[in-house]
């Protein structure tokens, strides 16, 4: 059993202390990627539900410990260099967010006895059931990690939903947003069990989305749903004072004027910046506090100079920005995007060094184009997914990695815009050498709508699809309902809602008939229609001798060579949406949706219905050789409700059924989650990648691939027993971390020599004054530079003339 396709952007990642590794929450595990190569090097597995927080324990570069929190109600402590589980804290409530402020604070002096480690958790209160509709389910709690227990009876705040906790990099403050308010707590200097942190609240008139703390000053920034960024300066001097004496002078000022501050909020001033047109998702201060990074749905990272409000941009990221993470290395940072990509940025120039990209996440499409978005390559085990930026991603299911991306439509993608151009259909021929895509441009008030059919051919050398033919409006202005390739020849069929279907042939097909054609491409070979009914689905039989086209409720059978109607069979209650021949048999499987859903199996030799079920089918997959097929069916509402009491069926809304065509009793069933928008396919077992992992050596011939609505997938052997399935583990595709390359200061100037103050004067020093480091030493942003004390010695040393040592 192979699983994969996890989201990399469900929660913010974290950099390791040396800045070379990135810890990413991927479903139930934490995957560790190399920042320099973008390849996965390890993973931390053990949680039984999605991991929501990962916190790397700061310290020296070699320290590789992290805390993770998960929805399974546990907090775990790992050594991720090995990787090994060190400790497990069970809080029994799903943790949505965790911060450990004391880790970030100044390291406690060694002579002090080690204090307990406290974490602040955002948890969901599952004890209260949904009986009260407006119950406050989110709670902010405190947890003693050293003693492994939640501190009972201490609830800092209750919110309608569990909120993400933001913490300042100094570890002094943490806060949450709650509708139009910010709640900020100050962490007590000496934390202990029941010590309640002091809290202030800041108000705004719009719903807030995100907040960030300044690393050194008392500044907090927050973004709201309208795209405004509010910056409160000097918050909490009144209520969150460290010592009374320090603030007394400031108290006088506060009485005079507090521009922009609402009501009785505890802040000195509040200023507003507005650039984003829609809500702000990301706010983060640079480590020196001079800049503020913000990002949102537009897919643009904005850098604000904090003092002046001047802006710099990283445009065209291509997808909404979700998280911005600083690394301990000042030249590296990462942004996570909604299209399941993590970009690693080289910092002052904001140049994208590497991208870690997972499977594309489902995009929200307008109603009629939902579903059917997957095309599977039977032999290689690739799946082609439509993405939001008008391209098709090829993702290897066996290796759990992206292979290629084909830009279907050359257009600039603006993530914030309404979706008007979209790829609606993707089809791949059985041998994987041809692809066909359909894109639809939606009209603006009835003008400018447009359908475009494209054929792509696989390059023989680079194994990439290149555009072969573009056909504008293949069925006039009518939409295309399906595209199917002939199993052996270079022929495809498209069926349209406009009432006709067209058979397209690649030119080498036509050339066989003796015509000389220079330019290769696809051309229409034949057009057919049946009583002007909308054609809703089309497929070729496995030997290519029969073309079945569904004309709403009946199935018409054609001879594709002569383009002659052979027979009409039917009919069903509602329009057929999918047709497929089961293997090499003469059985045809049809699926209708709508108010009267139906799964029917027709026998071609008798031109009659064999058997049918009233099931809402999401996807059908047929084997290539055998007489069986699999369907992904939605469980009826009633069934889910009855079985929901069983924990096993919790959230499971679909079943995969494997049928033999002759027999209406399913051969095997599995229940699955998130079946809506899912896909199903049979794939050929890939011996090369699996052989070494199967102990007894007989690899299954075919796999069933199931992709759920969130694009997470599972591959399993439909015929094998459970034991065999488990023995097939994930391919060991992990790459060792390359420990080469320097970063930060050392990457520019080389390693600093350890300066010994009591140095022997007679020692000859070979550093040459001609290096002239002053030319380069101060270039770049200020936050990039090592501290002045370290720079200065190197600089002054380079200026000094070296006296040749006199050694007798």
């Amino acid at each position: 059993m192979i699983t994969g396709g996890k989201s990399y952007v469900s929660s913010p990642p974290a950099f390791s202390n040396d800045g070379k590794r990135l810890l990413v929450c991927t479903g139930n595990a934490v995957s560790i990627f190399s920042a320099s190569t973008g390849l996965q090097i390890a993973s931390l597995e053990g949680h039984t539900a999605a991991v929501t927080s990962v916190i790397v324990v700061p310290g020296s570069k070699i320290l590789c410990y992290c805390w993770t929190a998960s929805l399974d109600g546990t907090i775990r402590y790992w050594d991720f260099s090995v990787p090994e589980l060190m400790k497990k804290v069970d809080v029994k409530l799903p943790v949505f967010s965790m911060v450990i402020p004391s880790l970030l604070g100044q390291p406690s002096l060694s002579n002090e006895k080690p204090t307990d480690l406290f974490a602040y958790l955002s948890i969901e209160n599952t004890k209260e059931q949904n009986s009260v509709p407006k119950s406050l389910r989110g709670q902010i709690r405190k947890c003693n990690l050293t003693a492994s227990r939640l501190i009972g009876g201490l609830i800092l705040k209750e919110t309608p939903q569990p909120e993400f906790i933001y913490v300042s990099s100094s570890g002094k403050f943490f806060g949450i947003r709650n509708k139009r308010k910010l709640h900020i707590w100050m962490v007590p200097a000496k934390d202990s069990g029941h010590l309640v942190a002091k809290k202030i609240t800041l108000h705004h008139t719009k719903n807030l989305t995100v907040l960030a703390f300044h690393p050194t000053k008392r500044i907090v920034a927050a973004g709201d749903v309208t795209g405004r960024i509010l910056v409160w300066r000097g918050f909490g001097y009144r209520l969150l004072s460290i010592s009374d004496g320090l603030v007394s002078g400031r108290l006088v000022n506060k009485e005079e004027e507090r521009p922009g501050v609402r009501g009785n909020d505890d802040a000195e001033s509040c200023s507003t910046w507005h650039w984003h047109s829609v809500e702000v998702n990301v706010l983060s201060f640079s480590s020196d506090g001079a800049y503020l990074y913000s990002g949102g749905k537009e897919g643009v990272l904005v850098v604000w100079q904090l003092d002046t409000g001047k802006k710099k941009f990283l445009p065209r990221i291509g997808s909404p920005v979700l998280y911005y993470i600083d690394s301990p290395d000042p030249t590296l940072s990462s942004i996570s995007c909604a299209d399941n990509q993590i970009h690693i940025l080289k910092m002052p120039s904001m140049e994208i060094l590497k991208s870690i990209s997972g499977i594309k996440l489902p995009n929200s499409l307008p109603g009629i184009y939902e579903g059917g978005g997957f095309a599977f390559d039977y032999s290689t085990g690739f799946v082609a997914l439509r993405t939001e930026n008008y391209s098709v991603q090829f993702y290897s299911l066996f290796d759990d990695c992206g292979i290629d991306e084909v830009q279907v439509c050359e257009r600039n993608h603006q993530p914030a815009d309404e979706i008007t151009v979209l790829v609606t259909l993707v089809a791949i021929s059985q041998d994987g050498s041809m692809m066909s895509t359909v894109e639809v441009k939606q009209p603006e008030e009835g003008i400018g709508g447009f359908v475009c059919l494209k054929f792509w051919a696989l390059g023989s050398e680079n194994k990439k699809f290149s555009l072969s033919t573009v056909i504008y409006e293949p069925h006039r202005d009518a939409g295309i309902s399906s595209v199917a390739f002939h199993p052996t020849r270079h022929v495809a069929v498209t069926s349209s809602y406009g009432g006709d279907f067209k058979i397209w042939a690649c030119n080498d097909e036509i050339q066989q008939k003796g015509r000389m054609i220079q330019n290769s491409g696809w051309a229409c070979l034949a057009v057919g229609s049946y009583k002007k009914k909308p054609m809703t689905a089309a497929t070729f039989s496995s030997d290519g001798s029969v073309l079945a086209v569904a004309a709403e409720t009946v199935i018409t059978l054609w001879d594709p060579k002569k383009n002659v109607l052979v027979a009409v069979i039917g009919e069903t209650f509602s329009p057929i949406v999918t047709l497929s021949f089961a293997g090499k048999s003469d059985f045809l499987v049809s699926v209708s949706r709508g108010s009267k859903p139906q799964l029917s199996v027709w026998r071609m030799s008798k031109l009659s219905l064999c058997w049918s079920y009233k099931l809402h089918i999401e996807a059908v997959a047929c084997t290539v050789d055998l007489l069986s097929f699999a369907v992904l069916a939605h469980l009826p509402e009633s069934a889910t409700r009855v079985e929901s009491s069983e924990p096993k069926f919790h959230e499971r809304d679909g079943v995969i059924l494997v049928f033999n065509v002759m027999d209406p009793v399913p051969v095997a069933t599995w229940s699955v989650r998130k079946a809506k928008g899912g896909g199903l396919a049979f794939l050929r077992g890939n011996p090369s990648s699996l052989e070494q992992n199967i102990s007894d050596g007989n690899a299954p011939q075919e796999f069933v691939a199931y992709i759920n609505g969130n694009h997470e997938y599972v591959l399993f052997d439909p015929y094998g027993n459970e034991a065999n399935e488990l023995s097939i583990t994930r391919r060991e595709g992990l790459v060792e971390l390359e420990e080469t390359g320097k970063f930060g200061y050392s990457s520019i100037y080389g390693e600093l020599p350890e300066l010994k103050l009591k140095r022997n004067q007679a020692l000859s020093i070979q550093s040459a004054p001609s290096e002239r480091p002053w030319e380069t030493i101060f270039s770049g942003s200020s936050h990039n530079l090592p501290p002045l004390t370290r720079l200065c010695s190197a600089f002054l040393e380079s200026l000094m003339e070296k006296r040749t040592a006199v050694v007798e």
Binding site: P315, G358, D399, I403, R411, Q414, D417, P443, E473
Partner: protein, 527 residues
Amino acid sequence: MMEVPRQNSTFKPIKPKLRPKPRTPAQTPESKYWSSFKNHQISNLISSITSLTFSPTPPHPFAATHSTSLTLFSPQTLSPSSTISSFPDVVSCASFRCDGLLIAASDLSGLIQVFDVKTRTPLRKLRSHTRPVRYVQYPVHDKLHLVSGGDDALVKYWDVAAETPIVDFRGHKDYVRSGDFSPVSHEMCVTGSYDHTVKLWDVRVTDSKWVMEVNHGKPVEDVVFLPSGGLVATAGGNSVKIWDLIGGGKMIYSMESHTKTVTSICVGRVRKESGEEGREYRVFSVGLDGYMKVFDYGRAKVTHSMRFPAPLMSIGFSPDCGVRVIGSSNGVMYVGKRKTKGDNVESGIKSFWSLGQEEEKRVMRPSYFRYFHRGQGEKPKEGDYMVVRPKKVKLAEHDKLLKKFRHKEALVSVLGSKNPENVLAVMEELVARRKLLKCVENLDNEELGLLLSFLQKYTTVPRYSGLLMGLTKKVLEMRVEVIRGSEALEDQIRNLKRSVDEEIRIQQSLQEIQGIISPLLRIAGRR
């Protein structure tokens, strides 16, 4: 985790829709060859150009007969070098002697004169025809005789020195309009006449009986021997026919692609650089329909066709394949001139001589001081690793404005650029951004005028009408007040209405035609 190459994050300029490529290439190599003749016009001649003839000796000057004069042209400059105008009537035909020193010309008074080409003095006057002479020619490789034919239906074989006809060939029943000597023998000639027949004569046979006769079926306008000597091409009516004389006067092919009378034909050679095609001959024909057709009689196929704006009367093709001259009825000569190979030959010689020097040029090595003096002009060698600067995407004005989301300015800028495909591409991009109607709403009077004139021009073009018809309606709906307020805009609306009406009329008549044809197709399909 495989690394997926990062997609190009630069701004992509909008692209107009692709046009469908023709299934067959627009130009065959041969038609490309024929259209590689560079066109010139010589238009200061007086009247219809009755005949064109090339001198057989290089540099092949050519003579054009028009009105009562004969003009000689140099093929290099295409300028008249000399004019002979001592004719009593309209000159009908001219022919160079095989050494190119003398030229014989006939006129409608029945007189045939022989001139010295250099001095333009009439050397001989052959007077025997009683009616206009239409055809005169020196035999190939024969300097002493002439053959002529005229409206008196006689073909005469002359002794030039004595100014007397040796033989009178009687046999034609109508005007003799054309003729040709065999390229392989100076004793055989054909003549074509308005009595629909082409007769082959042998000058040694003096009993005035023709050797062979073929019937073209139409008054024969021109006849020409093909270079093998066994075939003859005849032009009459709107057809050109190829006859096999050795095979007993059998018709081989009839080319009927002219729509009006074919007035003149000639034989030309395709000059190719190499290969067996190097000596392929073609028949050129011109007609009153203004077309010049190139007919490949070997493959029985018209390989090239060219349209001229006037009825064409005569054609000539230089023996070195470099010049093609066509005379029209209104005194304009259309000269096609191919770039002569002379320059290339010269440069070829040069390169041959410079070859030795090139050998001496040494391969640069780091041991050689000039290696270090290589500058920016240094060309990369084959094995060199090139560090190429990433190509900058060129953005048009409207692309730059679209990049800045200044939609209305982008629309106005592209409307001013006069390329309808780009305008459509910008409009489609605006539709995809849901901004087109907003742009239309914000256009001021002048810009609206620009848009309306674009719509008026292109709304009825089928390729653009899908989007533009809907847009036109919306524009009229949204901006009706503004249009009412301005005289100029109302004018444009009137024009728009006119062009739409025109299109509707076309569509209606097309539908009528479809109505007529579709039952026929039905019947044809049933069979």
